[in-house]
């Protein structure tokens, strides 16, 4: 099938339907807690599925994949930060918060890519899944480090404000940097995903068999519902494009392209994955988090303007990846495999 036929996958069509509903100003509203429940379900299902597969996988390749996930997760925010600072369009705090989103990943985009590969009949390895789990946290940590560094620079010439370690009023469990690190690893999404992977890996096969209908059969339908709502949220955010400005808008497209390119190279060259697996690693590189990272940044980098990072990750990069990026990364993975 043509690599652009992803537009005829139900998951992508529901994403578009959500966006259209918002654009025509429909009064359709999803209940406040639905997105949360759906994302807990999706993380649980991919975790269980992935853990089950990984228990049968090759340890050496798994470790290799983890190492490369860490390298991507730590390096991409730094690159993003430097690029953003060079644009001179945002403060250092904003640059730190934005770039943390790009080092992390979007499970929604990843799952859309899986739906795309499935409907194209392309096989893929299960290692990218463990990379997904691993990549949630490092970017948050780098974001915090960059923000702490930027804060220190600012504080050198200005003693007021900022989360500083010696601040008397701080809650002991928050102020300390080591506690911010802990937060990155006890993040709800990370716990559900990694916990489910472990359960998938160690459960008796008969037990897993019993929950298969829940995690496999209804999975695609639940994903459609999730992307339906996310389409509405993305369209709400894209309206704020003008606040963000053209330069940042371009960043929201170029950054995933660069991440997808690097991810594909890692998948193909370093990890020796098939076209499907390479596409998935590209998607990990390209996608920006909009579930786990925004609340973490709200809490840890209150000085950053959320309009910037939300509009970029949810309003620009997410729809770009879903509609254009995924088939593009797939095409590139095919090119690499053929080269």
């Amino acid at each position: 099938m043509s690599s652009f036929s992803n537009l005829l996958i139900p998951a992508v069509l529901f994403f578009a339907l959500g966006a259209i509903a918002r654009i025509i100003k429909s009064d359709l509203r999803f209940p406040p807690d639905l997105a949360k429940v759906l994302s807990i379900y999706l993380l649980m299902a991919i975790g269980l599925h992935g853990g089950y597969e990984l228990a049968k996988a090759d340890l050496g390749t798994a470790i290799n994949a983890i190492v490369w996930a860490l390298i991507l997760g730590f390096s991409m925010p730094i690159v993003g930060y430097l690029v953003l600072i060079m644009t001179r369009k945002v403060s250092p705090m904003d640059a730190a918060a934005i770039s943390a989103h790009y080092g992390s990943v979007s499970a929604g985009t990843f799952l859309t890519a899986i739906a795309f590969l499935d409907s194209s009949g392309v096989e893929y390895e299960s290692y990218p899944l463990i990379m997904l789990a691993v990549m949630e946290s490092p970017a948050i940590i780098v974001g915090l480090l960059l923000a702490a560094w930027a804060r220190k620079q600012i504080a050198a010439g200005n003693t007021a404000g900022g989360v500083s370690v010696d601040d008397l009023d701080n809650d002991a469990s928050k102020s300390n940097f080591s506690h911010l690190l802990k937060d990155a690893f006890t993040n709800g999404s990370v716990v559900v995903l990694i916990g489910s992977m472990v359960i998938g890996a160690i459960s008796q096969p008969s037990g897993i068999e019993k929950i298969k209908p829940f995690i496999d059969d209804i999975f695609m339908g639940v994903l459609c519902l999730f992307l339906f709502e996310m389409g509405m949220e993305a369209a709400r955010r894209i309206k704020e494009f003008k606040k963000v400005g053209a330069v940042l808008g371009v960043f929201g497209v170029v950054m995933p392209l660069a991440g997808g390119f690097v991810g594909a190279l890692v998948g193909h060259e370093m990890l020796g994955f098939s076209v499907g697996g390479t596409t998935l690693v590209a998607v990990l590189g390209a996608s920006a988090s909009y579930i786990a990272v925004p609340p973490a940044m709200r809490l840890a980098v209150p000085e950053a303007n959320p309009s910037f990072y939300l509009t970029l990750s949810l309003g620009i990069t997410f729809p770009f990846n879903v509609l254009i990026g995924i088939p593009l990364y797939y095409w590139f993975a095919t090119y690499l495999a053929g080269g």
Partner: protein, 109 residues
């Protein structure tokens, strides 16, 4: 006949993700309790529709005897100085059971 005792009701509108940060502060500031309601809204920073975790509001209510007000407001002001967006407003209320608001959360747990 029920006697009424004047107290202060401090209201704070802020982000859901800051809930734990605020309640930890309440434990340190000797208030006797707090009540939290989920909300959505809009203000200078745009709309907070409440459908995604990172843009849900909460409305926090803390009743304190007048003498504890200053300390609590100072604590809140320090959070604002750090960059956390709090919409704070204070109202006069009368309670029927002043003993309830004299204690502190710390001593309870």
């Amino acid at each position: 006949m029920v006697t009424l005792y004047p107290h202060k009701l401090v209201n704070i509108i802020t982000l859901d993700v800051l809930e734990e940060r605020l309640t930890a502060m309440f434990h340190r500031h000797g208030v006797s309790g707090y009540t939290i309601l989920r909300a959505h809204g809009a203000g200078a920073s745009g709309e907070r529709a409440g459908t995604l975790d990172f843009e849900a509001n909460i409305l926090v209510k803390v009743i304190v005897p007048e003498e504890k007000l200053e300390r609590l407001l100072n604590g809140l002001q320090r959070q604002v100085d750090k960059g956390y967006q709090l919409t704070v407003f204070v109202a006069d209320v009368d309670v029927i059971n002043p003993a309830k608001f004299a204690g502190s959360l710390e001593s309870n747990s």
